[in-house]
């Protein structure tokens, strides 16, 4: 463990590139075709202790910051969108525990377990009957003495069957109103999952985001000691959109790289600069540039909030709208970039059996605007826009 904790960020990045260009890329098509969990990739991540990069060093992790974790997500996006999404979703849950659990001895030792056993964490937030609103729960933790039980009807739990634990949002007790929520960690051995819907989608097929009736039990220490309202606004909301925005940028970048390669190959063959496609490529890189810029700006701001150790700053409407803008802009720009990259490549980008194929990237990219629907996010932004004076 000592040797691992001394890994530099540069080393971690090159490890991620190595795994990305080998194991992740090799299985990406099969994962997509079969809509199956990327087992090979996650075995490699566990083997290389990449699931605990955000766990502080004192608990055996690498103690990376959020900017660095987002960069690892971007790198994975270059190789496989589904693998990158799962990796990001795991990091979001880890961040919730790192930011909001350390005051409890249970969660201190849980962070050690994440590092030691390379636990993969999933999340059950949405619930059937609340219309996709994360800030409302119907289910509740039923506390009896030191233990609890819970039952939740979740329309979506990504990679539920492959996770070592699931963080579940619920009402804090039987009488609590819908918005008085907590998050509880339930380990695989404490869980029963009854499938209620499958996951046969256009893209992000490897995330296996099926629906389940989740039944769980455990000790009440497993309830995160911070109200979910704070966990969401201080951590889950910004970390989600920043890691997703980063990996979507990675997917877009991967598509631009393929387009660039195809233009270069064209030029090799003809010895002439392919004028129109080369200009389209240059334009395409401009769109990618603005996508990267938006993510970087918001990341810088969130990093400074984390560094100031005053997470309450993340509640400010001005910051929240920016984070929402990262989500809405990146999820729409990714479609734009991948689509334009396909035009640059031409028919070989459209083919499934070409080395320039963008089929998977294009299908994945359309999912970005739908997961946490952009219209819902714009609705929140519309409200906050009325209140704020300057953005």
């Amino acid at each position: 463990m000592e040797a691992l904790t001394a890994r530099s960020f540069e080393q971690l990045k090159s490890t991620m590139h190595e795994i990305g260009s080998s194991v992740v890329s090799e299985h990406a098509t099969d994962v997509d075709e079969k809509a199956r969990f990327p087992d090979e990739a996650f075995s490699a991540f566990k083997h290389n202790k990449l699931l605990s990069v955000y766990v502080p060093k004192e608990y055996g992790g690498d103690g990376l910051n959020i900017t660095e974790v987002s960069e690892l997500c971007r790198i994975l996006g270059l190789y496989c969108g589904s693998t990158a999404m799962i990796y990001a979703m795991h990091q979001i849950q880890v961040a919730c525990i790192v930011h909001h659990g350390q005051q409890s001895s249970y969660f201190q030792s849980y962070l050690q377990q994440i590092a030691e056993n390379q636990l993969l964490l999933a999340s059950a937030t949405t619930e059937i009957g609340v219309g996709g609103d994360l800030r409302s729960s119907i289910c509740h933790v039923d506390i009896d003495g030191e233990s609890f039980t819970i039952e939740k009807k979740a329309p979506v739990i990504s990679y539920a069957l492959n996770a070592d634990a699931i963080l579940v949002t619920c009402r804090a007790n039987k009488e609590a109103p819908a918005s008085d929520q907590v998050q509880v960690v339930i380990n695989k051995s404490q869980l029963e999952l009854e499938p209620i819907s499958g996951w046969d989608t256009l893209g992000f097929r490897g995330t296996c985001s099926s629906g389940f009736i989740l039944k769980g039990s455990g000790s009440k220490d497993q309830i995160l000691p911070t109200p979910f309202a704070l966990v969401l606004s201080h951590s889950m909301h910004p970390v989600s959109h920043l890691t997703w925005g980063s990996l979507w940028t990675g997917i877009a970048q991967g598509a631009v790289n393929k387009a660039r390669q195809s233009v270069r190959d064209m030029m090799r063959r003809s010895n002439e600069m392919p004028q129109i496609t080369a200009i389209r490529l240059a334009e395409l890189d401009e769109v990618l540039f603005s996508m990267k810029g938006g993510v970087q700006m918001a990341l810088k701001e969130y990093q400074s909030i984390l560094d100031s150790q005053n997470l309450y700053k993340a509640e400010k409407y001005g910051f929240s709208t920016q984070i929402n803008n990262v989500k809405t802009r990146c999820s729409e720009l990714i479609v734009d970039v991948v689509g334009k990259a396909m035009l640059v490549i031409g028919i070989n980008g459209y083919r499934n059996d070409s080395k320039y194929s963008l089929s998977r990237e294009l299908r994945d990219s359309y999912g970005a605007a739908l997961m946490v629907n952009n219209d819902r996010i714009r609705g929140h932004n519309a409200t906050m826009q009325i209140a704020i004076k300057e953005s």
Binding site: P177, S233, K316, Y317, M384, A387, K389
Partner: protein, 79 residues
């Protein structure tokens, strides 16, 4: 007393889970039914009532979480 005026405005703008009389100044308004949309209605009504403008730096969950927090914000704006 501005706190009574604030209590009236909260009662008018927020669909509360309890009667306003049963709500103490330190109760968490979010768990009693305050939503992001009603937060804005509440803010606009408070701005009209006290003839003030909320500063962007004040616009966070924290400012609206209780009647006491709102009172603190309004007092700061009136100073």
């Amino acid at each position: 007393m501005s706190i009574d005026r604030i209590r009236n405005i909260v009662a008018e703008n927020v669909k509360l889970a309890k009667n306003i009389a049963e709500i103490s100044n330190n109760d968490d308004l979010y768990s009693l039914g305050l939503t992001s949309l009603t937060t804005v209605n509440l803010m606009l009504s408070l701005e009209d009532e006290f003839d003030v403008e909320f500063d962007d730096a004040m616009l966070s969950r924290h400012t609206f979480e209780s009647i006491a927090a709102l009172n603190e914000a309004i007092s700061e704006l009136l100073d």
